[in-house]
Subunit: 447 residues, 2 copies
């Protein structure tokens, strides 16, 4: 089918447009974020969302097998021969009646979308399959990113899968090598720079620009196109019913940005008839979005965002040498790259943002483990958010909710072990020591 995608600056005073075959990521005219737009009038779309599901049975067609490209008409920015896939998106929406009961929700109304089942263990794969397809479209031969977490894992995996050289930039100081194990495992070149993360970010951009290396950072708008499919899969699993709420952890805000775009597009195309509410959950120690929206009243305002509010806060961060701090490391971010797009999603989805303390996130993580498939700490912010929003009456027990669990339970086993063995929370479940004596063992089990 004809490809009518192009890139467009989100700043309404600029609105510059760029070809889909350029790797720009940030508007060269005004410095604002770029969006991927489509001329839907020329698109050939399925009449019903159900038609996408039929493809699932074509397990020998690589694009139908992918949980992302199965929906390819809705992210139609490159030709099939450029599409990179490693089978991402075989994820599960779990109806969890145990958690519904714990949180006072009606049976059947709590669903957990476990994106940890992606090949690299996090939702990032949804975005990387799209971004690497774009990298292929523009003829990139090598790629890079600065990250010590899920991004470096996903980038490294997709890079080798399409035969591209990959360099991961990390800073000095406390590096959790467990988190980096995947980048090394997947064969990425890991460069540790004598500097902090900001130095890394600067160097990776300069290096990519000098050597014509494709940069896979969070600015990349094609990543967000892939992440839209998380929403498609949620409503597919709900038999094409749109839930009342989507709840998602908020870090760099790529997910929340893409989810709003996904629903807006589906509604405009007449493929769904209503848009769910979106709740974004910050950790208290990394609550930039929550502060700006709730304390400073920041809004999308048709694209005319009050940038001075943002700039003033960031200047304050710099002056105070503020670093965000939360056990939910995947959302430990104080200057979220996709902030403005996220404000747009909040408008589209009549959304809200709250921030929660680490203790509530840790207990929610334990709840997802005890009753669900488990998740990494940051993921549990969505379930902690559900708990809080039910408690304060924002979410009604009769409403249908889908919480996005962004990463695999095995991404951070140390936190799990400490929570349980050091009795850090209300759901701590440490081992019990018992003598090698049948009666004593039976007493423990019967207790």
């Amino acid at each position: 089918m004809a490809i009518t995608a192009y890139q467009k600056c989100i700043n309404p005073d600029c609105g510059a447009e760029f070809d889909r075959t350029e790797a720009i990521f940030k508007c060269p005219k005004c410095g604002d974020l770029l969006d991927i737009q489509y001329d839907w009038s020329k698109a050939k779309l399925p009449e019903k969302m159900e038609d996408f599901s039929k493809r699932w049975a074509n397990r020998n067609q690589r694009l139908d097998f992918s949980g992302v490209w199965r929906f390819r008409e809705l992210l139609n920015f490159c030709e099939d021969e450029h599409k990179v896939t490693i089978g991402e998106g075989q994820t599960i929406l779990q109806q969890n009646d145990f958690i519904a009961k714990e949180l006072g929700m009606d049976k059947g109304n709590v669903h957990l979308q476990y994106e940890g089942l992606n090949p690299s263990g996090s939702f990032k794969d949804n975005g990387m399959t799209a971004a690497f397809s774009h990298a292929s479209l523009v003829g990139a031969k090598s790629c890079a990113c600065a990250s010590t977490g899920n991004t470096s894992a996903a980038v490294s995996l997709y890079a080798h899968s399409c035969g591209m050289k990959c360099t991961v930039f990390i800073g000095q100081g406390r590096i959790a090598f467990g988190k980096l194990s995947q980048a090394m495992d997947y064969g990425a070149q890991t460069i540790q720079i004598a500097g902090d993360f900001d130095d890394c970010m600067k160097q990776v951009q300069d290096v990519c620009s000098k050597l014509n290396i494709y940069l896979l950072n969070s600015l990349n708008p094609f990543r967000l196109e892939g992440q839209k499919t998380i929403m498609y899969r949620i409503i597919e699993s709900l038999n094409w019913q749109v839930p009342d709420w989507i709840i998602v952890p908020g870090g760099n805000l790529g997910n929340s940005s893409s989810f709003g775009k996904a629903f807006k597009e589906l509604k405009d195309l007449g493929l769904i008839d209503r848009i769910p509410c979106l709740a974004i959950i910050n950790a208290c120690g990394a609550d930039t979005l929550s502060y700006l929206v709730n304390q400073r009243g920041l809004k999308w305002n048709s694209g005319w965002v009050e940038s001075k509010e943002i700039n003033s806060l960031y200047a304050d961060f710099t002056a105070k040498k503020f670093s965000p701090h939360t056990i939910a490391s995947a959302i430990e971010i104080s200057r979220p790259v996709n902030l403005k797009k996220c404000l747009r999603s909040i408008e589209i989805c009549d959304g809200l943002v709250i921030d929660l303390p680490d203790e509530e996130i840790k207990d929610a993580k334990a709840m997802v483990g005890k009753y669900g498939l488990g998740c990494e700490p940051a993921s549990a912010a969505s379930v902690a958010g559900l708990r809080r929003l039910v408690q304060d009456g924002t979410i009604d027990p009769g409403e249908k909710v889908a919480c996005v669990l962004t990463g695999h339970a095995l991404k951070d086993p140390d936190l799990t072990v400490n929570y349980h063995t050091k009795r850090e929370g209300v759901l701590s479940n440490p081992p019990v020591e018992v003598p090698n004596d049948l009666d004593k063992i039976i007493d423990i089990i019967k207790a």
Copy 2:
């Protein structure tokens, strides 16, 4: 459809039969292993294997969504209402031409079946969905196992998913709590007994018997019925072509036992026209099967296995206080429970077994990371085996091979980190330290 499954002792001198609704696991008459048998003449089976795949599109039907129960006619031992599923089996067969090239195989002939994408992170889920369905059939209210690894993770996850109480028995001494993190996370009661693993095994059996608790140990023949579906999914992904070779790590030998049974049944039913060769890979430090088959000539022999060979070896182990030792912890087993059934599979599949040193397994693990989706150490025994069998001419470059990767790359990140940062093998890929200087960074990347 009518259920005609029953349990039968594999010892031809015994051949005792038992109802499917009993939880026996070990022949009460002769102590040998039990098998699940079907009266296929009364079974209503699809005419072609392709018919199973069509179900994949029915994503809202829980049994069609499961990668195990989608093939339910082939493991038809309980009514649908007893079937327990958490969406297991959304796994990927990856054609890996990079590894094919590295190992001297023809392009298109090396495939990796990554079972780490199961909800608990290992192939065990295939078996547990079946065993827990049996537990539901017999009305079990609680369950137990002795394990510090993948089994305890899978048992704990399925137990809470069907609202069953679960107790995991572990011994004293060096416990890697990272490996136990999943059991604690999934809410299992973990009992640490003042004794070694043998003490645990004895106590768990006594406790289960006294308190009528369902025991999920490796003897359970229903687990093997679920594991058959790994083979169905492999041939499904190959467009219903049977490969020339299946290669699998050998530990307790449940997988190899079930794979032979799977192919024999499919052939008998006329659903496939030939059976692949099966190669089982032991680690040198846990090479019971390899020793007995290759040094002592042990054979299935229509069920009349020379038990005295086995007993004599095990007596020797006891006398020497022998403990198996390999970095491939998931196959660090010296008395494999399913030994006899595995001998049967070797006969069915014209199979073989070899044992390989840890170094080759570690390098193969790094190769799966560098070129594939990664895996846990024991899983890589299958790829190490492929390398060896190509080198010695057993496998021809023109033959089609599927290697089973049993567990998730994140199951043992410490080994990955050590391999790379301590330069333990030929594919070690440690981080490079560089000054915060653009030119020096560019030099490194260009090098």
